[in-house]
Symmetry: C2
Subunit: 354 residues, 2 copies
DNA sequence: CTGAAAGCGCTTACAG
DNA sequence: CTGAAAGCGCTTACAG
């Protein structure tokens, strides 16, 4: 007969104070060693079927909860992945996070979340805090103006890092990006095929890598078609709707106006369409607009927005897979992965008027 | 002279394989005991200033990273909070999650994220996995059709739990909810004041608690104004845009048509507006519509949507604060908190035509 | 003000 | 197939 450690009937309410059940409790109750219980927990075939059954029964009866932190400490492993996002309230990144969490969960990992709100200072603090939990790896979508040196200082201890979307100069980590150049090229070519010849590139910060890449795709498509690229047709503005609406006037300052704009992203395109409406110019009829991202709203706006679909959830899953690969092969060489984007043609792009 | 444990110049690249620096390494290098290093780490005033300085210098030099999991194990505490969300790709909940993470971070806690995608089965799996990391508490926005008994089975070990938004029958945890009844009442009263008399309640599942509460607010406002509530004016549909668009016809099946609808939420309202457009009925002119949530899109749609603002980020911060209170006072009685909502009047609601 | 010892909950060789 | 012992990285009384 073994000592019974169970708590009787009064297990209602606050489990807060009560000490957690441990392998020692189970071992004592069943009359085996802690090592045996541990083997059962980990599904080892070394344990006799009878013993295993008795241990399992007792685990259930005492409502044992595995303490993975303790196990990870002893085994010098980790099942935690830190996920640090620059802007979780942006549906694109929320969807990305959902994809990461989903794919990690399938592999038995768990997501430790941080949100930086585009602040490099918060990013340092958040990363430092998450690093103390000894993650097996880090997926980071860097805040604007992140610096590789600062990131290295705080993530030095993390061998396994995957950067997403933005790329601080001089980093040495794995990197997953969207095919920005190709996407903008597709959009520009689409407008050219509709008959547009005077096309602007609208929005974004010229010093951001993604904006530079999208601009280069635009320039490439224009060049291929033998069309001139004019400085006045590159309009810069913060990638928010109000800023884009305000910047609309920049397209109306030249004698001849462009008939179409390739926008930095969907938010900018939405803002531009507002700005056009305000001037009595109807997007999709008087002026063609394309976006980038295919946020859920894009298909539902009036007019529906022609844009580039990037499937953020699939990108999240892909990021998780790439990181897990890296965790499995820490010494493999640094990898750059470019995810495809797909043109979605909708009503906001049409042949030029007249 | 103490033994120098530092690694020379070759600390470039993979920190993955190299053993992490521990308090033992620091203690040995400085020539003190591990206990002293530990006291320095935790900012104890007991350590002599000189010793403290030498320890700090060595911590920096060796790029020591605190192992909080080990510390938590020894101290029998936890700085992890599990956050389980029913639908992270919904901007409302993404914003809520950002608020939770922000407020937790300010108090030195860290967010362990799980997303269930409205699946009770995934919810059980996700919670079970997160529980193994011994969180100090759990914030759960339950999936549809969650059952208190199942939740109790998997969260039994967590003393500190806060439910958000949905409330499985028979639960015994803290609960934070929106003032659904009052919100729907405000919207209905607003339409009545505009002159509407035949008003529908549109969308949502009648068996969900939030839908029931919103319906009851609608019924109360109608009753207060002495207006009849007719069964045919309660239209049920899944809270998605396409479903709502498809359900629009239910409003057109009676001889006299209603002139306005109080919608279950913004998504439903957007879908209804699409359905109206498709029938040549212009929302905001021929038919008034209100929503619930004030998602970012609401202010930007055409027409802009009259709705109830709930400030999901503030709700997230509030949820974090309530949970931390509970963690601080595990024996306090169960608390129910109702967060206020605010009517935002926009173009989608107007006096009835004619 | 500092050190030696024990222990948090788990796992891993090593015997038997 | 099972147990005794040591140890993951940290902290906490307890001496001195």
């Amino acid at each position: 007969m073994s000592t019974r450690a169970h708590s009787g009937g009064n297990n209602t309410g606050r489990a807060g104070g009560s000490r957690a059940v441990t392998v020692t409790d189970i071992a004592r109750a069943v009359g085996v060693s802690r090592a045996t219980v541990s083997l059962v927990l980990r599904g080892s075939p070394l344990v006799h079927a009878d013993t295993r059954a008795r241990v399992h029964a007792e685990l259930q009866r005492q409502r044992y909860v595995y303490n993975r932190a303790a196990a990870n400490l002893r085994r010098r492993t980790s099942t935690i992945v830190a996920l640090v996002i620059n802007d979780l309230s942006n549906p694109f990144f929320a969807e990305f996070a959902a994809g990461v969490d989903e794919a990690l969960g399938e592999q038995g990992y768990v997501t430790l979340l941080g949100n930086t709100g585009e602040s490099p200072r918060r990013q340092q603090a958040v990363l430092a805090s998450l690093m103390e939990h000894a993650p097996a790896g880090v997926i980071l979508s860097p805040a604007e103006h992140s610096e590789a040196a600062s990131l290295r200082a705080v993530m030095g201890a993390a061998g396994n890092v995957l950067l997403f979307n933005r790329e601080p100069a001089g980093h040495e980590w794995d990197f997953l990006a969207l095919d920005n150049a190709h996407g903008a090229q597709l959009a520009t070519r689409h407008l050219i095929e509709l008959g547009h010849r005077d096309i602007a590139f609208f929005g974004g910060h010229a010093d951001s890598s993604s904006c530079q890449q999208r601009r280069s795709g635009y320039v490439a498509a224009m060049a291929q078609a033998g069309l001139p690229v004019r400085e006045a047709r590159m309009v810069e503005c913060a990638p928010t709707r109000p800023q884009a609406a305000a910047a609309t006037q920049a397209l109306f300052e030249t004698a001849e106006r462009p008939t179409a704009a390739v926008c930095y992203n969907d938010n900018v395109a939405m803002g531009l369409m507002l700005g056009l409406f305000a001037r009595g110019v109807q997007p999709g009829r008087d002026f063609s607009v394309t976006g980038f991202d295919d946020i859920p709203e894009a298909a539902l706006s009036t007019p529906a927005l022609t844009t580039l679909a990037v499937d953020p959830r699939a990108r999240g899953r892909q990021a998780a897979q790439l990181l897990l690969q890296r965790i499995g092969a820490p010494d493999a060489s640094v990898a750059r992965t470019i995810a495809p984007v797909e043109l979605r043609v909708r009503q906001s792009s049409a042949p030029p008027p007249g």
